[in-house]
């Protein structure tokens, strides 16, 4: 995979695959309830697209579940990468569409560490690096808790020392 810019050096812990898989499982279950309700409550003898949908929807659901649980987590683990260099925080995120984000340490305004409900189950945290621009936010997803905390402290400390006007 050759992108327009360099690949960040470090990959995420493998527990992130479990987390993405769980996310896929939950979204598949929600969609499954929807499809189940459709099969149960919409009468099958109605004209129009209903007979087609009765077999099309379950097939789509199975396809989605296979991709979301079996393929996407591994794919994402290959795409999601991060790196803290001497003067910048750098990430790659996405899946089919990819986004590289680079923020120099001299322009960092705040550093947040957040832990979602699912993340807590897997012992992972997200580090968000915010700048003066609403669009210039670097999010390093799914780092192990202690690493995330160390990264955040280190970034905040270095930002303090090199900060120029920060805008």
């Amino acid at each position: 995979m050759i992108g327009p810019v360099r690949e960040p050096a470090w990959s995420l812990p493998r527990t992130a695959i479990g987390l993405w898989g769980t996310e896929g499982l939950i979204s598949s279950a929600v969609l499954g309830f929807g499809v189940g309700a459709f099969l149960l409550f919409v009468p099958s003898d109605v004209d129009g697209p209903v007979p087609v949908l009765r077999w099309l929807l379950p097939i789509l659901l199975v396809l989605y579940a296979v991709v979301a649980i079996g393929v996407r987590p591994w794919f994402k683990h290959r795409v999601y990468r991060w790196e803290i260099t001497a003067d910048a925080a750098y990430t790659r995120t996405g899946w089919l569409s990819q986004t590289w984000t680079l923020v120099p340490i001299s322009r960092i305004q705040t550093v947040d560490v957040t832990r979602g409900v699912l993340q807590q189950l897997f012992g992972l945290s997200t580090v968000a690096v915010l700048t003066a621009s609403s669009q210039g936010t670097v999010r390093i997803w799914h780092l192990e808790n202690d690493i995330a905390q160390r990264v955040a402290t280190d970034l905040a400390h270095r930002a303090e020392q090199v900060r120029d006007q920060a805008t």
């Binding site: 360099r6 750098y90 089919l96 984000t101 680079l102 001299s106 936010t137 920060a166």
Partner: protein
Amino acid sequence: MSEPRRTSPLVVLLHTITFRQARQFVPAIIPVVAAIGLRGGTTTIALLVVAVTLVSLGTALLSWWRFGYTDGPTSVVVSRGLLSRSVRTVPNDRIRGVEVEAPPLHRAFGLVRVRVDAAAGVADKDEELVVDGVTRAEGDRLRAAVLTHRAEALPEAAAEPAEEQFARFDNRWLLYAPLVGSYLAVPLAAVGALFRLLQELPENVRPDVEGVEDVASWRVAAVVLVGALVLLLAGSIIGAAVVNWGFRLVRRGGSLIATRGLLTRRHTELEIDRIRGCTVAEGAGMRLVGAARVSALVTGLGDAARRGQLLPMGPRAEAWALNRRLVADPGPLAPHPPAARRRRVTRATLAGLVVTAAGIATSALAGLWEVLAVGIALTLLGVPLGLARYAALGHATGATTFTVRSGWAVREQAVLQRRAVVGWQVQQTFFQRRAGLATVLACVGAGRGGYAAVDMAADEVPAFTLAASEPWAATLSRA
């Protein structure tokens, strides 16, 4: 710290007339009135008017009495509140700008309203400090005092600086107004409101339109149409004139000062040191007559779309001359690769192609050819649209600045200083990856927050980011 200053007592009268404070009691009064009813006729109404005015006078008096402000050497303090007291302190180095405005009624009393713009990017109106109702002289003193206190904090405190004119609005440029979307929207909204009002009217009051004979109706329609068009044109020009009359942009020391407005004179001050770049925007209609609009990108400016305006509308040459005075010209735009043209055209025709496919299905199954015709027309129209969108794309880097341009309905070119960039975001969708393209977003702590070079050649990205920002962008290049 010295004794807090008060606003002019005249403001009590002003606020009594406009029910400035009493307005908030309206929701409480309505049920009371509804309960009592208006049985007494004129006497009750007269009494009610007197009572409301008295309440208004009382609240205006109270809030004037409880309001005080101090412009100290390090901060501005405003204290207010009828029952609960609130004291807000804004350090001078956090003040982004000061605006002195004089609405018509204020002018009648010789008063002005001073707005001190404090925190960064505030959406909340409460965040700014407003000193409402001081004399013109005191308003100017306050503005100068706040800004010079802040200047003293900086090393280079300029002596009483001379004024230098940057731009002056020629009133003939108001004729561009009908081609600027936002000004056209004003009379349209008014017409919409009128129609709603007409529908609210009871049946017997409404003019009887159904009775008009068919023979006369096309004439009536033509007259109404022409009339509406004239009204629309006039409305947009008047709207633009009210806002922009006598627009003037001058430089005084380290600030740019914009003055404008027919009824409410606005006075906006921008610090040149905080300007990170400019945008020149041309709507599709404006491009036909060679008109453009210039805005400054200022860090930490609330309500940036209005306050950052440097030239509300004017000839393109004038706009670019102004732009070059503020930020260095990065040179001519480099076009984007042919793959970008293919991608623009594909995206523009996609909707048309979908409709065409649906049209083929409907004409085969149900014999409906209308959908097919619409689909083909949309597809054909998409081609010139895509080409025009491609023609708008471009980017360039200069010695200290860089520029990106995109957009068709509103074509916007942003010229930014290298130091403006606080981050880069490179985006590549699945299709962009196959076409060897990427969209590069320069994150900026001003204006919209990000300005994108859409669909540039993927292998040019590292060189562009390095040339357009400071050395840290080398992280993106391969070792």
